[in-house]
């Protein structure tokens, strides 16, 4: 019976955490749009938006207000239900990822130990992958429901690109999981935090590179932004969208960026681990707060790299994209997996034993 009892306090705690995390990621996404414009401006020797409020800090609100005030058009030949479902699905899928990201270790408040993670499920990273591939439906449904050739083509591009790169992403991830031996993000982070162990980037530089490139493709960021190629497909899958529905699509892209940065930080850069510092020497609350800040810093650095790449590199041609995905990324990821496996075996059983193992069967 005690198993079925509802822990009200836990429920409240989780609800508060969900609200805080969703609002925080929306807030960060809001300012990521601003940062994108500012970074673009700085890289192009311009001042960028600076008129709305001090230093232009109110610019994202002005942009949002503009989108909300605009006329909302649903094309007469579109499938209305799906047309509305598209952006909603994109946004929901983007936000759902944040449920399994370990934002920090636990806080001790009011005599309770509060984990700063909404759900520490043991298949955390698989959940992320599942939800991310749901995001493709947002693009597919939106592009299809618009009843427009360009949108449909962009949606097809988006779907095939996402599927191709998800393969390589998953394969590069397997090597990391072989090292960690767990699918839970929290466990993976804690292993990297343990004294004497390095971050996964030290063991998996090639894996990280593949993962990063695939994350760019998954987020539809330059150089893989073919689904929204302005010059070829007018505007891509959200061509028929206006007002806040368009805003949702644009916004979900930024939320996706933040979430993939967070996942990369957790998998390869030690999550909320503070470099060159043993967290156990600090008080748990202080360590938790510093951990959140540290993870956020890592995310911000990744976001900057995302933007830096966007404003440097031109878009791939479609055949180049597919060639890179299938003929380079996947073999490379497989090789990385094999190499990791061999090295792990060598460490466990010694070099000679491993070689014998490999040739015996």
């Amino acid at each position: 019976m005690s198993l079925l009892q509802l822990d009200v306090l836990l429920l409240i705690e989780k609800l508060v955490l969900i609200v805080i995390i969703v609002l925080a990621s929306l807030g960060i996404a809001l300012y990521t749009t601003f940062a994108e414009r500012k970074v673009a401006a700085i890289l192009q020797d311009r001042p960028g938006p600076e008129r709305a409020g001090p230093l232009g800090l109110l610019q994202p609100f002005a942009d949002g207000l503009k989108l909300i005030m605009k006329e909302e058009i649903i094309p007469s030949h579109s499938n209305k239900g799906l047309f509305i479902l598209g952006p909603a699905l994109a946004m929901i899928a983007a936000l759902m990822t944040c449920a399994v990201i370990p934002w920090s270790s636990s806080l001790e408040l009011f005599g309770r130990k509060i984990d700063l993670q909404i759900a520490d499920i043991n298949i955390g990273i698989l959940y992320v992958f599942g939800v991310v591939s749901l995001g493709v439906y947002g693009i597919m449904i939106g592009g299809w429901a618009s009843n427009n050739k360009f949108s449909l083509m962009a949606a097809l591009r988006g779907a095939s690109q996402a599927i191709s790169y998800e393969l390589a992403m998953g394969l590069s991830l397997i090597a990391v999981l072989m090292l960690g031996g767990s699918l839970s993000l929290k466990t993976l982070v804690e292993q990297q935090m343990a004294p004497g162990s390095l971050w996964n980037i030290a063991y998996q530089p090639l894996g990280f590179l593949i993962f990063f490139v695939c994350a760019l493709a998954e987020c539809n960021r330059t150089p893989f932004d073919l689904p929204e190629a302005e010059s070829e497909l007018n505007f891509g899958y959200h061509q028929e969208y206006s007002s806040m529905k368009l805003g949702f699509y644009l916004f979900s892209e930024y939320v996706n960026m933040i979430m993939s940065s967070a996942v990369m930080a957790c998998l390869f850069f030690g999550g909320y681990d503070i470099p060159f510092l043993d967290e156990t020497t600090l008080s748990p609350n202080l360590a938790a707060v510093l951990g959140v800040l540290c993870l956020l810093t890592k995310i911000v650095i990744f976001l900057f790299v995302f933007m830096w790449i966007r404003w440097t590199i031109p878009r791939f041609r479609y055949d180049q994209l597919m060639n890179l995905g299938w003929k380079k990324m996947i073999p490379l990821a497989l090789f990385n997996m094999l190499l990791t496996g061999v090295l792990i075996l060598m460490k466990q059983e010694g070099t000679w034993q491993t070689i014998l193992h490999l040739f015996k069967k």
Partner: protein, 192 residues
């Protein structure tokens, strides 16, 4: 074979300029097909731009000075005692190739000597800034140095009517009552 064909074509045809460059269609080498070295090089280039000074002039607050020979918005001039110089002779309107200037003359009444320099003056003086081509011929035609082109331009407006500048828009401030505004409107022009 295609390359051969292209070569023949090139040798027969004379290039129009000496700036044309042969495009290399070589397949990418292994190093190039990795993309990464070139990408890193490009990213270094953009990174360097973070530290360069940006050349933006934040317009309404900062303005670039015009050259002293700039031909901008017209100014109807006054003399040192603040009297209007224009006598409504109409030479500027005749000289104007765009027919942008119209005026109506009036006779100076007793007691207005401190307003108008001579017995005749322009009661109405209008320049249509949408027609004006800012050639400066009115300035050259004027025998009284009453009109010249200043170092500003006509600002944007919502209506066509807003571009027809009357005397109240064109007349320079009185040097006796508003010396600062006069100096500002006069600008760096020396030949007045």
């Amino acid at each position: 074979m295609l390359a051969e064909k292209a070569d023949r074509k090139n040798s027969n045809m004379q290039a129009l300029t000496n700036r044309s460059k042969a495009v290399s269609r070589k397949p990418l080498s292994f190093w190039e097909s990795l993309y990464l070295p070139a990408i890193l090089k490009g990213m270094l280039i953009t990174f360097r731009h973070i530290f360069t000074k940006n050349p933006t002039i934040r317009y309404p607050e900062q303005q670039r000075p015009f050259s002293p020979v700039f031909r901008g918005l017209h100014v109807l001039n006054r003399d040192e005692q603040g009297r209007e110089r224009c006598t409504a002779c109409g030479l500027c309107a005749v000289a104007c190739p765009a027919e942008a200037i119209t005026m109506e003359a009036a006779e100076r009444l007793p007691g207005e000597e401190n307003q108008y320099r001579e017995e005749k003056y322009a009661a109405k003086y209008e320049i249509n800034m949408l027609r004006c081509i800012f050639c400066g011929l009115c300035e050259e035609a004027c025998p009284k140095d009453a009109i010249y082109l200043s170092e500003t331009f006509a600002p944007a407006n919502f209506t066509r009517k807003g571009f027809i500048y009357g005397k109240e828009d064109l007349l320079i401030p009185n040097p006796l009552t508003e010396p600062e505004a006069f100096a500002k409107a006069k600008g760096a022009k020396t030949t007045v």
